[in-house]
């Protein structure tokens, strides 16, 4: 039988703030355990939460970017459950009146078609602490630095049908929140975590199957693996006559499988009620308009503008806008070197290649946009060859203080392009390689490449390969 998967995602985005959502504790990553857990985060008796004003503009900006309704009056609720990393015994979240309602995004599928994914809601809430189960033999260690970190939970409709679509959607949300400055988007520090709701049904069916929820997946690769594992597992269960249990599962990247978390005999009842310690939060049209006027250009708009302004391909534009830091860098380089295609090519291939290789943050590119622009201008005016330019980029990468023009002059890297200095070299190479010359005469024209390579080596890459190619051909014919 052919099966169809129905997938919905809940994405928890950590909002980029200095302090927590309800306390003045710092949100800085990597601090010693419990050094950023205040009395409010610990749920000590008598403390009261006070809402951080920075969380609202971020949630509103996200809502506006997906065309959602923004609630003028939103209310916090208590979600009650017991777990050691939740000291108060409840999480403050938004149930009945979330800040963002509805909206949708368009994701690009293979082949360039767009698919709309509807968003149900997005609400503000606090994160819980972290439980360390493996540090001590008979105890669990609790670090409450994360308790109270502001989150925006974005809930999608079950509009995705494959793991690939789910990943495309998650990537799009990641890109969006990074662009908007809503989140730093740092996945390795837990700034974006996904819960995947997956069920399957016979292809073309209309009834939903029983779903499972795989929690806390923190990379796109794991998300794809976890969903594919769940689809296969559920298909195997159903095809062998079993039935799916509605349950929470955990993805184990080491074994590439999802596992049932100890299932609770009684269905969880969170006993939501309005948070009595907080008043409703009111925002007006003026507040929303102000945020709207300050919103940056969004990735899709930027990509389209890059395509038309710099005459580059859609594929190049999409890659360049994938991270706002890279997009800004690209535009800064084009201010110096106006050849958009050349700049796009260098940023996409050379720069991103190096960034990936060194695993550095996109924001921390060691070569300034100005120096790269100057370097590319020297290729364009044929001062240096592309090969030499790549060597210089390597130098700039490790010594950012180097000035491109000075470096070219001091190391005599200017391209050798006058025929009179190249011709003796060509004659010499031809004389040293009579066998290859003979091969050429017999019709093996590919050996020209061999000669060009020899001459490039003799000039330490300073010759212009096209010109050498022409001169060699002229000599041989």
């Amino acid at each position: 039988m052919n099966w169809e998967a129905i997938i919905g995602l809940e994405i928890h985005v950590q909002l980029h703030t200095n302090s927590k959502i309800f306390s003045g504790a710092s949100t800085a990553f990597g601090a010693e355990p419990n050094t950023q857990a205040s009395a409010v985060d610990l749920g000590l008796p008598g403390v009261l939460p006070v809402v951080n004003e920075a969380v609202y503009p971020k949630a509103v900006a996200f809502g506006l970017s997906i065309g959602a309704d923004i609630s003028r009056l939103s209310v916090f609720d208590r979600k009650n459950y017991f777990y050691p990393d939740l000291p108060k015994g409840y999480q403050i979240t938004q149930m009945d009146k979330p800040i963002v309602l509805g909206g949708s995004v368009q994701i690009s599928l293979d082949g360039g078609t767009l698919k709309e994914i509807r968003i149900t809601r997005a609400h503000l809430e606090e994160d819980a602490g972290k439980s360390l189960h493996d540090e001590f033999p008979s105890n669990t260690g609790i670090d409450l630095n994360r308790a109270g970190i502001p989150l925006l939970e974005i809930v999608s409709e079950p509009d995705m049908r494959t793991a690939k679509e789910a990943v495309a959607y998650a990537r799009y949300i990641h890109q969006l929140v990074t662009y908007l400055g809503v989140s730093d988007g740092n996945m390795s520090e837990g700034s974006l975590r996904c819960d995947a709701n997956v069920s399957i049904r016979p292809m073309g069916g209309t009834k939903m199957g029983t779903r499972t929820e795989t929690k806390n997946v923190n990379s796109f690769k794991f998300l794809e693996n976890a969903i594919n594992f769940e689809i296969t597992r559920q298909r195997d269960v159903l095809e062998s006559g079993g039935h799916i249990i509605q349950e929470t599962r955990l993805y184990d990247p080491d074994r590439d499988e999802t596992r049932s978390m100890r299932s609770k005999e009684t269905a969880m009842d969170y006993r939501y009620f309005p948070e009595p310690d907080l008043l409703p939060i009111a925002i007006d049209d003026e507040y929303i308009l102000d945020i709207k006027s300050k919103m940056p250009e969004l990735p899709r708009e930027k990509s389209e503008r890059f395509e038309s302004d710099y005459e580059i391909s859609k594929a190049d534009a999409d890659i360049l806008v994938s991270d706002p830091a890279i997009a800004d860098y690209f535009e800064a380089v084009t201010k110096i070197c106006s050849d958009g295609k050349l700049v796009a090519n260098w940023v996409r291939v050379e720069l991103l290649g190096k960034i990936n290789k060194d695993s550095i943050e996109n924001k921390a590119i060691p070569v300034s946009a100005e120096e790269l622009g100057k370097l590319l201008n020297r290729i364009k005016d044929q001062t240096i060859s592309g090969k030499i330019a790549k060597d210089i980029l390597n130098i700039l990468w490790s010594s950012p203080m180097v000035n491109v023009d000075d470096y070219i002059n001091e190391n005599e890297l200017k391209q050798v392009s006058n025929t009179s200095s190249l011709e003796p070299l060509i004659e010499e190479v031809l004389k040293q390689n009579p066998k290859q010359v003979e091969q050429f005469r017999q019709g093996k024209t590919k050996v020209v490449g061999y000669f060009v390579g020899q001459i490039m080596e003799k000039t330490s890459g300073k010759a212009n390969p096209q010109q050498v190619n022409q001169l060699v051909l002229k000599k041989l014919t």
């Binding site: 003045g24 004003e53 439980s131 009842d269 009595p276 907080l278 939060i281």
Partner: protein, 95 residues
């Protein structure tokens, strides 16, 4: 609505309270009385009355996004039964 013993047992589990079997029916009766009070209240005509989430006619005052708390871990951990390497220790949690 009558609160049966099984409902009391379920709520007791959610709230991590322990009752002896003998207590269940008397607790159930008390809870039923509270619900009867709510049922009485529901007979009041509330047409045109806006639901509220808080009795105060006010909205929340917000706090500037500045990290103001100092690290007081030592003070807080003094009242914890067990700590190690800066972590609060609790009995092993499996799930």
């Amino acid at each position: 609505m009558k609160i049966e013993d099984y409902i009391v047992e379920n709520i007791a589990e959610l709230t991590q309270l322990k009752f002896s079997p003998g207590e269940l029916s008397s607790i159930g009766n008390k809870m039923s009385e509270i619900l009867e009070l709510v049922e009485d209240m529901q007979t009041v005509d509330t047409t045109g009355v806006e639901p509220m989430s808080n009795p105060l006619d006010a909205t929340q005052i917000l706090r500037p996004d500045i990290a103001t708390s100092e690290n007081r871990r030592d003070v807080y951990q003094r009242s914890a039964p067990e700590t190690r390497d800066g972590l609060y220790l609790v009995p092993k949690v499996i799930d």
